[in-house]
Symmetry: C2
């Protein structure tokens, strides 16, 4: 996986016309740079520079004690030092003479901001008598592309996480009954995870999140002692970690009342509006479209049907984390800054998660996961086409 | 523990005449600042400022979603924000009007370098139209004192780690026999840890480190398949983690040859020289003495007895990590930079770990742990007074 991402990074450098990408780090077990998960896969102790060039060179300058470990983990030409990294770093810069040098800091994106200020000052001290200090820029656009455009292996891992999550949703459908509390449903899911040796995709207090009925909490809350009653819509927001990649999915259940043989018209319609808004949004997903355009398609479908719009983005990227950063499918609201205008790219993996309220019953919401390809997108999750119906029990 | 450290930090600000200590962080689960283990004990998501003043104010500016969690973990006056941290930060600075502001970066000490360069740029942008930008300095001297000077609770935790380690050393003495390999001794210790639910104090590949006989590897190496033979000196370097604090100790064993009723004179003498060098070093430990002076006492005792000097420092601080940073008991060698001149302070916890080679037998080395008090130091580890002798077995 690391070597796939290293080769991809070189292609991104060519595309962005950056000559050298320099990641400067030290003692990464206590001061981790999040990008090292993508381009190294282990830790280093002494000050180290992981350097990729537009020409495809991959060079790691590391302390002598770290040499073997780095060689064992990633496909770098590894140069060890004993006293100081400065001579080998200056020698490398002199040889490459890069015009544009991207370094690992960012004001916008925490996942691209692994350079500490102390390390920045050390780098400036090293470069003070060279021309290179004036050629530095943030590598956030490189990291955004590298993190966003998933490799084949990364997509396989995300698919693994999706598969495990959907199996657990199926198990929930088999056991959930009116009278159970949100806590009890969450505990059932936690036990399933435990049996399968799976970790939750985010904060275990809210993963799974379980919401039942018309009075349930909003999104991002902990399960409560609230009981499932006939006539409730229940939804669950849940994902698992699989080989360090995660899923993030939502499904909706309806609990039949005594004598019902189908959900009420209002519940059925709410569910279908959500389902169809996701299909429409997916239909317009393709490389080059702005995130806000995709959001608008789903949002308009829902408001046109007479419902209140959802108070959040339509979807976010998924990867090593449930919120994997960068391009977002969000409306043009002030709090989202420039993100609504960022463009969808092939290889990005997004959630699609609109919601609406069915008065008196609860919240209808589905969260699917799609991967963008060259001329559209495809679903990685088997989409929920119908409400999961649970029979009445007194 | 956190509140103990917060009160201590205020005392350190008074001593260092710093008006405000400002720790600026965000998304600390992916970008941790090591000092938060001492002054917060949990994570925050949005940009946050943890501010301590010389007058004793403790103020946390955090995102609204982080307010309750911060309140639950540490004794701050918590101010939540929704849109941006900037207004509350500028308001606080205007009210306090601090002359000296220490912020969380350091070129020297990675444990004091939690500020990312992106966050530094954001802070500079916030302060650009104020007088405060010119009043910033590194907080490394504050963090060094705060991390170094252990509170009562921290010392109790270190004592817990020491107690568990010495119990395991006793168990080793009861089972170790000639013919066992270094691997087997290490496995026995790992099983003891597992039974007791203990984690190793450092890299599990080298914790425990086991060295037997005259041909064993130097320090900091993995156990091998080398067999313990009669006539060998064996030493073990080992520590455990107890409530997030660690021990780091060494003990020495001698394996009697057939017919021996005591160790050979050379082995006995080597052990005693090490033991006495530690006592002498401890006798001169007190607040204000330079680290190099303490090292010199032990080093001279060993070379005066005719042995080669040890190729490392006499001792380092112990705390949340086995190498807890800052003041070191080390010789005035170039690689140690300014550290030999740093002064011992009350409350610091140090190892004392000289070594010497007994030709034909192995390495005699003991590592004890002491805490500095107001007029000297006291041993936290029950010192090894005599070689641990293992009877001959064919």
């Amino acid at each position: 996986m690391i070597n796939e991402k290293l080769n991809q990074a070189v292609r991104i450098l060519k595309e962005k016309k950056v000559d050298l990408w320099l990641n400067f780090v030290r003692e990464t077990s206590s001061s981790p740079d999040p990008v090292l998960d993508l381009i190294l896969g282990t830790h280093v102790v002494w000050s180290s520079a992981f350097c990729l060039t537009r020409q495809g060179e991959k060079i790691a300058l590391v302390g002598s004690l770290d040499v073997q470990n780095v060689k064992d983990h990633a496909d770098y030409e590894v140069v060890g030092y004993v006293d100081s990294i400065k001579p080998s770093l200056l020698k490398l810069l002199d040889r490459l003479n890069p015009k544009r040098i991207a370094i690992n800091y960012s004001t916008n994106d925490v996942t691209a901001d692994g350079l500490s200020h102390g390390m920045y000052l050390i780098l400036m001290e090293y470069l003070k008598e060279t021309d290179f200090a004036d050629r530095l820029e943030s590598s956030e656009m490189i990291i955004s592309a590298l993190r966003g455009r998933k490799s084949k292996t990364e997509i396989e891992y995300i698919q693994g996480a999706i598969r495990e999550t959907l199996l657990i949703f199926n198990a929930v459908t088999a056991v959930v009954r009116p009278g159970m509390t949100e806590f009890e449903v969450a505990d059932f899911i936690k036990n399933q995870m435990k049996d399968k040796g799976l970790e939750p995709a985010w904060d275990p207090d809210q993963c799974p999140a379980v919401f039942t009925g018309p009075d349930s909490a909003g999104a991002h809350a902990m399960p409560t002692g609230r009981k499932i009653e006939p006539g409730h819509i229940m939804n669950i927001d849940f994902g698992v970690r699989y080989k360090d990649y995660v899923s993030d999915l939502q499904r909706t259940w309806y609990f039949m009342r005594e004598g019902e043989i189908a959900p009420p018209e209002a519940v059925q319609r709410g569910f279908q509006v959500i389902r169809d808004s996701i299909k429409k949004a997916a239909d317009c997903m393709k490389p080059g479209v702005e995130g806000r355009k995709v959001d608008e398609v789903a949002r308009k479908h829902i408001t046109d049907a007479g419902y209140t719009e959802y108070p959040h983005a339509l979807g976010h990227q998924v990867g090593r984390k449930a919120h994997d950063g960068s391009t977002l499918l969000c409306p043009q609201w002030e709090r989202y800054g420039k993100l609504p205008f960022s463009k969808v790219e092939a290889g990005q993996v997004f959630t699609l998660e609109p919601r609406l309220t069915v008065p008196g019953h609860g919240v209808a919401t589905i969260e699917e996961i799609v991967v963008v390809n060259n001329d559209g997108c495809e679903f990685l999750s088997d989409p929920q086409e119908e409400l999961y119906l649970i029979a009445f029990e007194a």
